[in-house]
Amino acid sequence: MEKQLVRMENIEKYFPGVHALDNCKFDINAGEVHALIGENGAGKSTLMKILTGIYPKDSGEIYVKGSPVNISGPSEAQALGIGIIHQELNLMQHLTVAENIFIGREPMNGLFINTKKMNDETDKLLNSLSLSIKSTDKVEDLSVAKQQMVEIAKALSLNSETLIMDEPSAALTESEITELFKFINKLRDDGHGIVYISHRMEELFIISDRITVMRDGKYINTLNTKETDVSEIIQLMVGRVIYEEPKSKSTAPPGAPVILEVKGLKSPLVKDVSFELHQGEILGFAGLMGAGRTETARLIFGADPMDSGEIFVNGQKINIKTPRDAVNNGIGYLSEDRKRYGLSVGLSVSDNITMADLENFTKNGFIDSKKEASTSKEYINKLSIKTPSISQLIKFLSGGNQQKVVIAKWLVKNCNVLIFDEPTRGIDVGAKSEIYKLMAELTKEGKSIIMISSEMPEILRMSDRIAVMCEGRMTGILKIEEATQELIMKYATSRK
């Protein structure tokens, strides 16, 4: 009775330097919800991007209803009845629901759009899905959940039998999620096959029929939801062999004073976060995508406004409204997106090194270029930044060396609290270990580090303590001695 809609086999995908998908397989039956789960970077998105024609595969086979197909672009995937609903909705806010659904294929009446026909067909579609949305509603007036359903309706209007939903519940409230699930159940009963990608463990057990786990670009296993439980799934998600020894014991000096204390930090995406950071300590921030770690860091740094909360540096309450306030209190932030938030890519290495502390290189408005050059050289040597000269434009440096320049910027400013947000993202393996070494040296010199990382081995290797976040809340703080991958993943998926 089961009808297979899609089957993927032996899928291989290489990115420069990364084996992104290693012999992966996946299949979807009509009338089922198939959940796809894995840590950040496990390969879920890459696999789905191959299925929807966004990336070409390097090798492997894809079958749609049993016959082999070649999907070389999104429109071909669409023609084969495969639709995707991205996490970020792609609707045009100022247009109506009907205009959005029919964009690019409007029914025409000579030179003019046949608005009546377009609206009627849209209403028919929305009614058949029992959605209480009208074709003439403006998208901007709809809730996020309703917009998502419009997006789904649009995919269905293109005759999609297979629907891929990427983190559909991420932006929804509790009651909206219930509404979404009801809708998904209806689609399942209508015979659609749904791929449900989510980090939220408990949701998978409510909505899915089968669960496929991926890890580090590999297919791990597919289980019937009824026959498994949360702990087995977590086991499969994190059950990698860690090549690099995790830290067995905290290397932070015992009894070191608290240098940074955060109390009750709140913003739309951060829910009442409190923690302490000790001198000479690396506090790892673990969590899945969207856990609110970067958002927390940006609040501490004054990059975004906070709704409420208190920040103490060396026991003194400080008022942080702008990054300038944070910097002047010795807090430096290294963004996960260096090119957007960390560097002035069009400027030189030395311009970037002195950017945060230029006041101290200025006399009567003039830049003391000798002092600037000697300080730049000092830090280029100290951090072994590979650059032909101090006046080299930063965009010509490798990722690892760019990261070191950002570190140098905060050291020149004499920051004592450094927030590293994904410090080794986009950096090759050799440079990675150099950054690790550097971080260890910095803590020996008495600097304190908050390290946000989505890489479990990195968290376990570098941290003295680990703060775990989920959905904007801090769900646990672990000592390195007690931390395991399973424990961290449990906290990272435990919605409270």
Binding site: P323, G346, L347, M355, T362, G365, I367, K395, F396, L397
Partner: protein, 333 residues
């Protein structure tokens, strides 16, 4: 290995940057030589002096607006602000202020309009295009109100206060002294842009404003200051305009901003910000001045100048796009 690659890529781009400025300079020389051959009496001291005479106020406008453009912004108000500043100074003079004070008032008026631009852009978050478009009209109207829609006259040659023309524009012996002032203020601007904190932040704002903010730079303060500099140079352009042309007519100046901005673009400063040079701007100013005099020497009137300047601007921007494409290819390689 990686390092050696990036080094040579850097040299290549650096070479290209210089190459483009060299190209602008070469274009200037080629145009000049062209008119020397095909123009009527173009190769003469008179026409050289005419070229210089017509370059002063545009030169000041262009130097000023270079700062705004390097931040990734624009200032469309410079044309009318120049005229309005000159009107305000002229009104002060006609009400009995000493001429020196009147000229100072002119410069300060320009700076104040710049401050207004800066505050609207920086504190209220309007995009520079819209903010300065609004101020362009505000300034124009304000000048008409202050002058009572009367043409304002600065002292003419022969009168007691006309010394300012000899000091700023042309000596009694006919020496084009204006060029000396343009050079002096070019150097001042050059030092501000390349040696001072102000200049470093100007580039930083244009290169990546968010990164500057996250480095603790008081972005809003420095952005306001950039527009104050633009305004002050615009006020000085007003002084040079008064020294050269004596009469200031209300509700004029709209359209002159294009001349200043065109010079900046011809000089290779990128409208997307972060990249630019004052040397290029000055070359741009003189390419336009030579075009104007040269076409006149061929018996072609002002509208031909507009026509050809437009072509040069388009060519310069195309060159910029081509260069960016090439440099991004270098980056990938």
């Amino acid at each position: 290995m990686d390092n050696a690659n990036s080094g040579s890529a850097g040299k290549k781009l650096f070479g290209q940057l210089n190459f483009q400025r060299f190209l602008a300079l070469a274009a200037l020389v080629i145009i000049y030589v062209f008119f020397c051959i095909f123009g009527n009496n173009f190769l003469s001291t008179t026409s050289l002096i005419n070229i210089l005479d017509s370059s002063y106020y545009i030169g000041f406008l262009a130097i000023g607006v270079t700062f705004a453009i390097i931040t990734g912004g624009i200032d469309l108000s410079i044309g009318t602000v120049m005229m309005t500043s000159a009107l305000i100074g002229g009104v002060a003079y006609n009400k009995g202020a000493p001429i020196a004070l009147a000229l100072l008032i002119c410069v300060i008026s320009g700076a104040l309009f710049g401050l207004l631009n800066g505050i609207i852009i920086s504190k209220f978050g309007l995009v520079p295009f819209v903010a300065t478009l609004g101020v362009q009209m505000v300034a124009s109207g304000f000048g008409a109100i202050v002058s009572n829609v009367q043409t304002i006259r600065y002292p003419t040659v022969g009168t007691e206060d006309a010394w300012f023309k000899q000091v700023l524009y042309k000596t009694s012996s006919g020496f084009p002294i204006g060029i000396v002032w343009l050079v002096i203020f070019f150097i001042i601007a050059y030092v501000i842009l390349n040696k001072m904190r102000m200049g470093r932040y100007t580039f930083a704002l244009g290169s990546n404003e968010e990164s500057a903010r996250l480095s603790g730079v008081d972005v809003s303060k420095w952005k306001i200051l950039v527009y104050v500099i633009v305004g002050a140079f615009t006020g000085m352009a007003g002084v040079m305009y008064a020294a050269a042309y004596t009469t200031i007519v209300p509700v004029t100046g709209a359209g002159m901003e294009i001349l200043g901005i065109a010079a900046v673009v011809i000089g290779g400063t990128s409208l997307s910000g972060g990249v630019g040079s004052l040397t290029g701007t000055i070359i741009g100013v003189y390419i336009m001045a030579v075009l104007k005099q040269g076409l006149m020497s061929m018996g072609l009137q002002g509208h031909y100048q507009t026509f050809f300047t437009g072509i040069v601007v388009i060519a310069a921007v195309m060159l910029d796009i081509y260069r960016n494409k090439k440099s991004s290819k270098v980056k990938k390689a």
